[in-house]
């Protein structure tokens, strides 16, 4: 990726290249692309395992989304900062070590301050280490781009991940348990809608995810090659 737009000529001496605005058009794309056209879950089909497992209720899903965002953004930042120091031959191990460090930090903080949620998420916080979205962003983007770009890229990917799992969790909790964030919606509205046990299981997540992918691809016209 080159941002070298002004070739140095004699008539046009290099004073000081105007720095790119923090949210230039190119940078906005880092955030917007993974939301839809390049969504990590629905288009790249990564991170499915956690998307299926933690989405039976909104609260743990939100915590998971925040945890993944934290891990991706900071791993991207650190990797990008030291990208010129990382020896090529052990770069994957270095990336994993960076991810693992942040994952352990997240896990420890959850255990200290959100014990109930950390129990609900159980092994899945630890498994963020193996979430291909994180590893994929480090290897594909942060290793070759500047820190701020990498932060934005990480933000975009994790928000793309977050909205999909939150959408799945919204429908699963609503129809599976009749509640949202534990608040009994149907009961309060006086509706006698029975809970759908299928939605509580992973099968329900597959169905919702499939529907999201279907709607999204029908709108964007994306075709798998």
């Amino acid at each position: 990726m080159s941002d070298n737009t002004n070739p140095v000529t004699e008539q046009n001496p290099p004073v000081k290249k105007a720095s790119e605005p923090l949210f230039s058009k190119r940078r906005k794309k880092f955030i917007s692309d993974p939301m839809n056209d390049d969504n990590p879950i629905t288009v790249q089909v990564l991170g499915i395992c956690s998307a299926l497992a933690v989405t039976s209720q909104l609260k743990p899903t939100l915590v998971m989304a925040i945890a993944v965002t934290f891990v991706i953004v900071f791993s991207n930042l650190i990797t990008s900062l030291i990208r010129n120091l990382i020896p090529n031959r052990i770069r994957i191990i270095v990336q994993l070590a960076i991810i693992a460090t942040f994952v352990i930090l997240v896990d420890q903080v959850l255990r200290a301050y959100l014990f109930d949620v950390s129990k609900l998420l159980s092994v899945f916080v630890g498994l963020i280490i193996t979430n291909c979205i994180v590893m994929g962003r480090l290897e594909a983007f942060a290793m070759g781009n500047k820190p701020w770009d990498s932060v934005l890229d990480g933000m975009g990917s994790s928000l793309g991940y977050a909205w999909v799992i939150l959408a799945v969790a919204f429908f699963r909790e609503l129809f599976g348990s009749g509640s949202l964030f534990g608040y009994k919606v149907f009961e309060e509205m006086g509706l006698a809608i029975p809970n759908n046990g299928l939605m509580v299981t992973s099968v329900g997540a597959f169905i919702i995810l499939g529907l999201i992918i279907w709607v999204q691809r029908a709108k964007t016209g994306y075709v798998e090659h």
């Binding site: 039976s56 031959r89 052990i90 070590a97 460090t101 930090l105 420890q108 200290a112 159980s122 899945f124």
Partner: protein, 237 residues
């Protein structure tokens, strides 16, 4: 230079030191909060077997007000000078010599009378350890409630033992048959069995989690058996 072996080794060592130091520091800082959370979780589990806790309840207050505890040995005699909170069930479970095992008993008291005896239980699930508490009513025959927890059971399958709906199935079941023999409460295979087919000693199973259910059954039986001398002693009082 960057590709030389010595650079790679130096880089790896430096990274290990930095990451290790960072994590060790974080662990030290967060430890007190984690231990507090763990203690609160234990109190919640013990209280959860007898009452339904609401959000915002002061668990610590409720616990100190309503729960009395003691520690007994394998013969059911009270061991003096040992606090129940200091007995780690995991360690006691691994203690091979039965005569050295210690068993904490938590008593839920209402108006000065023991309303329920809450006993810690521990065992192995499908993937990892499982544990919990079983509360027996004052007669020490009827189950008042259970709370289970796990370290690594499959979410949506075995991990369902932590759900209130599953735990409710144990309420009012009996652990002794007519002759007074310990039968414990067993979870059957398959889900959706009619209550009439289950009777007083069995509870409905969790579909797709038979091996976790087997673990729960073994855990309940083993621990009730270990507490048997104490239970008999209290019943004959």
């Amino acid at each position: 230079m960057q590709q030389s072996n010595s650079y790679i080794i130096t880089f790896a060592i430096a990274m290990t030191v930095i990451v290790g130091g960072l994590l060790a520091g974080a662990n030290q800082i967060l430890k007190p909060a984690q231990q507090k959370a763990l203690k609160l979780d234990k109190q919640k589990a013990i209280l959860g077997t007898v009452i339904t806790l609401k959000e915002g309840d002061n668990v610590n207050d409720l616990f100190t007000k309503n729960i009395k505890s003691e520690v007994v040995d394998y013969q059911g005699n009270v061991v003096e000078g040992v606090k129940a909170s200091s007995v780690v069930t995991r360690k006691q479970y691994k203690q091979k010599d039965k005569t050295k095992k210690l068993f904490p008993v938590y008593k839920y008291e209402q108006n000065g009378k023991v309303d329920a005896y809450i006993l810690p239980i521990y065992g192995n699930g499908l993937w990892n350890e499982i544990w919990g508490y079983i509360a027996l009513q004052g007669d020490l025959k009827t189950v008042k409630g259970v709370v289970f927890d796990h370290a690594g059971e499959t979410p949506g399958l075995g991990a369902r033992i932590t759900e209130g709906a599953i735990q409710k199935r144990y309420q009012n079941k009996l652990i002794f048959d007519q002759d007074g023999k310990l039968v414990s409460v067993t979870m059957v295979k398959g889900e959706g069995n009619p209550e009439s087919a289950l009777g007083k000693y069995k509870v409905d199973g969790m579909s797709g989690a038979t091996l976790t259910a087997n673990g729960v059954n073994a855990m309940l039986y083993n621990y009730l058996d270990l507490y048997l001398p104490y239970i008999k002693k209290q019943q004959n009082k």
